[in-house]
């Protein structure tokens, strides 16, 4: 079934079966492998993407349910997003495998709550597991980014 999804500001044709989770469409068909698989059951957050600005688990969303929603993946942040800069500055990643999902959850958090307190960070980030235990730096990097100029919701690039 051919359909079109809006990913990182571009309408893209996809042919995957309609029940295919968005995660595997992004990774296998569209080659956007920054979004990771970690559990497949909405437990780990490795697959987090933005759907119309909201952090969602792409492993739980069949591609047929995407419709006209705008999808933003880690690749869509552009590489120099303030959160990405903070991640690099504080050397947050260890193995790095969870970090795309962590950053996407943090982007959604700051878009909603530009100066989050500890409780807000916990609420937004507890769905993202980091087995390397980079949690302390993840929190510090969110605060670092939040201390800078306001983080804009990710603009969809044409």
């Amino acid at each position: 079934m051919a359909t079109t999804v809006d990913v990182n500001g571009r309408p893209l044709n996809v042919n995957s079966a309609p029940d295919t989770p968005l995660l595997w469409v992004l990774r296998d068909e569209l080659g956007l492998t920054g979004t990771k698989y970690g559990c497949g059951v909405a437990q780990c957050g490795a697959c987090t993407v933005l759907v119309d600005g909201q952090a969602m688990r792409s492993c739980q969303m069949p591609v047929s349910a995407v419709g006209a929603a705008k999808i933003t993946t880690i690749e869509g942040l552009g590489g120099t997003h303030p959160l990405q800069e903070a991640w690099v500055k504080l050397d947050v990643p260890q193995c790095g495998y969870c970090q795309s999902g962590q950053i996407m959850s943090a982007v959604a958090l700051l878009a909603q709550t530009p100066k989050p307190d500890d409780a807000a960070i916990s609420a937004a980030m507890d769905g993202n597991i980091c087995r390397c235990g980079a949690y302390q730096r993840i929190r510090a990097a969110i605060k670092e980014a939040a201390a800078g100029p306001a983080v804009q919701p990710v603009a969809a690039k044409a």
Partner: protein, 731 residues
């Protein structure tokens, strides 16, 4: 893994044995050959003018080739810094490249010369090697400049990647590349006096991979793209040791995108054009299993059998019975004596649960066999693969990628998931790339756990309350059983008792009777971040706090006195440092209770003071002050990162980690049933590094085993009760 691996050169077939043998005795190339020669025979890895570890580009940039995989512990940055220091390179222009698989060029001296990453040895075993490589290349550039400028070499300075002379002449590595490459490398270049280091030990030594890991650009095995790539998933037996009896692939084959179904030794593989089709295909598969040889016990039964052995309720079998691992004085007296503290501890199976489940890409059947994945033990993986494809181990090409964590899981004596992928790729044939994908459930149910462990400890004390006799019984499955003879360590599997064996507390005790028994269980087990220390540190450190409490002594002062008796200077130093930084002598912040623990592993000694409270009956850990003696600190920031991460990993297991089996079937499958530490539960770890000029020792693992007992000791102070089994929070 510190024995020579002579015995692992087991050729897979007789013909293969002859090939290896012939190369051994007759090949002119390999006269006087070493284990590295044998294991690298057939390799096509090329070495440049500056040796196997360094490459220079015309623009002056430097590439350090890492023989070790980077799966989180920051070793790539550390290794690069060692070479860059001796080179006097410009750190901002140094990058890291992953080495190919070649035991001769890239063997690990801590792993008998085979190539592999583990035992927190990456930095330690590379220290002299990379310093030498850097110093040799530096000398070549200096000599090239001296010849070109007609000045004495001794007058040339190198700083930040620039060679210069008082006359005003100056050049970068790139400018002198051709000339330097023609110079014979000095065999024993002069290494720097560590006092003159300008990079090592500074905060400038930062990760090189943070950006690619923050943009989604880093490539892991799951991300491998190749034209024609097929994705495979395997239906595995629900019980360990079961085999395929029969299967029906009719429904699976009808799923769009499924291209083949193959029986392999570990199950039935569904091969498809994409991941989702492979998964759907596997779900449609019907498999019957032959469970005649399967392990059918539950974990509770297994643990009960361990306890019965320790208590003497069950007699030890004649073969494979109790083996002493430490004894001092009159052992018979260790069983006697009244008013003893007698404690039994239980530890469950633990899954590594790396963030990226196990996976591999293999290409078999056209040219040399090629593997692309996060290989932790390339030589082992080559040997195990060679046995399947009937080739020389050294001819198996491995491209090692970043891996989404390992914690020991990827260094497997059987290369379990690697050989599974090779079997499938061999059936597919034609050199077509096959990516084996394990789901989280596959990964969690595949075994290779930290084994169940039981300890019984009986300690009597002298008039001052210090241990007078110490009887110790350990029951656990051997991790090293089935390892090649050169590796297995004989009667006592060192990985089962390390940390109890060598403990300063036992050294300080006049009478010691410590024994180990290793019953056979059909659940595969493996090293898990910090290995034996995962339980020995807990048992020793929590026992010591209970003894201090009985003696009415402060836990820090009590430890200090025992370390004095044992001559454990490094323990004293980290204990003093942690006590000072944590403010041990003043009260803990209101609502918090402190606990201390100290443990030596992988050459490093770590002390922690944890601030703990109970919230809704569950422990919450706040500030954790850490002191570490890891010899020369290469990257203070990455040492801190490893203390932070290692602490979370250890705390996650202590509080929540548990794999259970019911009638041989693993009960957990995903993070909903195998609880792990979440962001809001993570402590704030503060790291203090003891200044040292000794060679660098481990940091990847030593931060893991200390937090458990530190928290248990805080709870002991808070509640008056010891915590004798893990996890603390039962599911």
């Amino acid at each position: 893994m510190n024995k020579p691996l002579t015995d692992i050169v087991r050729a897979p077939t007789r013909r293969q044995a002859l090939v290896v043998g012939a190369t051994l005795v007759g090949g002119s190339l390999l006269v006087g050959c070493s284990i590295g020669d044998i294991l690298s025979a057939g390799s096509r890895v090329e070495v440049g003018a500056f040796g196997p570890f360094l490459k220079f580009a015309a623009d002056g940039s430097v590439t350090v080739i890492s023989k070790h995989i980077e799966f989180g512990q920051g070793n790539h940055a550390g290794l690069a810094a060692i070479a860059a220091e001796e080179l006097d390179a410009d750190w901002s222009r140094v990058s890291v490249e992953q080495a190919a698989a070649n035991a001769k060029l890239y063997g690990n001296t801590m792993m008998g010369g085979t190539q592999g990453t583990g035992g927190s040895s990456a930095i330690f075993n590379s220290w002299t090697q990379l310093r030498t490589a850097g110093a040799a290349a530096r000398a070549m550039f200096v000599q090239a400049a001296a010849a070109k400028w007609s000045v004495p070499a001794a007058e040339i300075k190198v700083a930040n990647g620039v060679l210069s002379h008082a006359s005003g002449k100056q050049a970068g590595f790139g400018d002198l590349l051709d000339e330097a490459a023609r110079i014979t490398p000095p065999e024993a270049p002069v290494l720097k006096d560590p006092k003159t280091f300008t990079l090592i030990g500074t905060d400038r030594v930062r990760r090189k991979d943070s950006r690619v890991k923050s943009t989604g650009a880093a490539t892991y095995t799951l991300d491998v793209k190749r034209p024609d790539l097929l994705v495979a998933m395997v239906a595995h037996a629900p019980k360990f040791g079961a085999k395929v009896k029969s299967f029906d692939a009719a429904a699976a084959s009808k799923i769009a995108g499924v291209v083949a179904v193959h029986e392999i030794p570990t199950g039935v593989a569904v091969v498809a054009e994409n991941t989702w089709a492979a998964r759907q295909g596997r779900e449609a598969l019907k498999v019957e299993w032959d469970e005649a040889k399967a392990e059918t016990r539950g974990s509770a039964q297994i643990l009960a059998s361990f306890r019965d052995l320790a208590s003497g309720k069950t007699a030890a079998p004649e073969k494979g019975g109790w083996k002493p691992f430490d004894s001092r004085g009159d052992a018979a007296k260790a069983a006697a004596g009244s008013n003893a503290l007698e404690i039994a501890y239980d530890f469950p199976y633990l899954a590594h649960a790396t963030m990226e489940p196990m996976n591999c890409v293999a290409m078999v059947g056209k040219g040399p066999t090629r593997l692309v994945f996060g290989s932790q033990a390339p030589t082992m993986d080559q040997i195990n693969t060679a046995g399947i494809v009937k080739a020389l181990p050294g001819s198996i090409q491995i491209e090692t990628l970043f891996a989404g964590g390992s914690f020991g899981r990827r260094a497997n004596l059987k290369s379990d998931y690697v050989t599974e992928c090779v079997h499938i790729a061999r059936k597919v044939g034609g050199g077509r790339p096959v990516k084996l994908v394990w789901t989280r459930e596959d990964d969690m149910r595949a075994g290779y756990y930290r084994p169940i462990v039981h300890h019984t400890v009986r300690v009597t004390t002298d008039a001052q309350g210090f241990p007078a006799t110490w009887r110790h019984r350990v029951v656990t499955q051997s991790i090293m059983k089935g390892a090649p003879p050169g590796m297995s360590g004989g009667d006592i599997d060192p990985t089962a008792v390390e940390g109890a064996l060598g403990s300063p507390y036992l050294k300080a005790t006049p009478i010691v009777d410590a024994q180990l028994i290793m019953p056979d269980v059909g659940v595969p087990v493996l090293w898990w971040r910090s290995v034996g220390a995962t339980h020995t540190a807990y048992v020793m450190e929590h026992t010591i706090d209970q003894l201090a409490r009985r003696a009415g002594k402060d836990p820090v002062a009590y430890r200090r006195a025992l370390y004095e008796k044992a001559g454990a200077r490094r323990h004293i130093a980290v204990l003093d440092l942690v006590a000072e930084k944590a403010g041990w002598s003043s009260p803990a912040p209101a609502g918090w209770t402190r606990g201390v623990a100290v443990h030596e592993s992988f050459g490093s000694v770590v002390a922690q003071v944890a601030e703990v409270k109970l919230e809704n009956g569950q422990p919450r850990v706040g500030r954790v002050v850490t002191a570490i003696d890891c010899g020369t600190a290469i990257s203070p920031d990455q040492i801190a990162a490893q203390m932070e991460g290692g602490t979370c990993y250890g705390l996650s297991a202590t509080l929540y980690g548990e794999i259970t089996l019911t009638d041989g079937v693993v009960d957990q499958g995903n993070f909903d049933t195998y609880r792990v530490l979440r962001n809001s539960e993570a402590p704030t770890v503060e790291t203090h590094i003891l200044p040292s000029t000794n060679p660098p020792t481990g940091v990847g693992e030593p931060g893991t085993p200390v937090i458990g007992p530190a928290v248990a000791n805080a709870l002991l102070t808070l509640t008056g009760k010891p915590t004798l089994s893990q996890p603390f929070v039962k599911a």
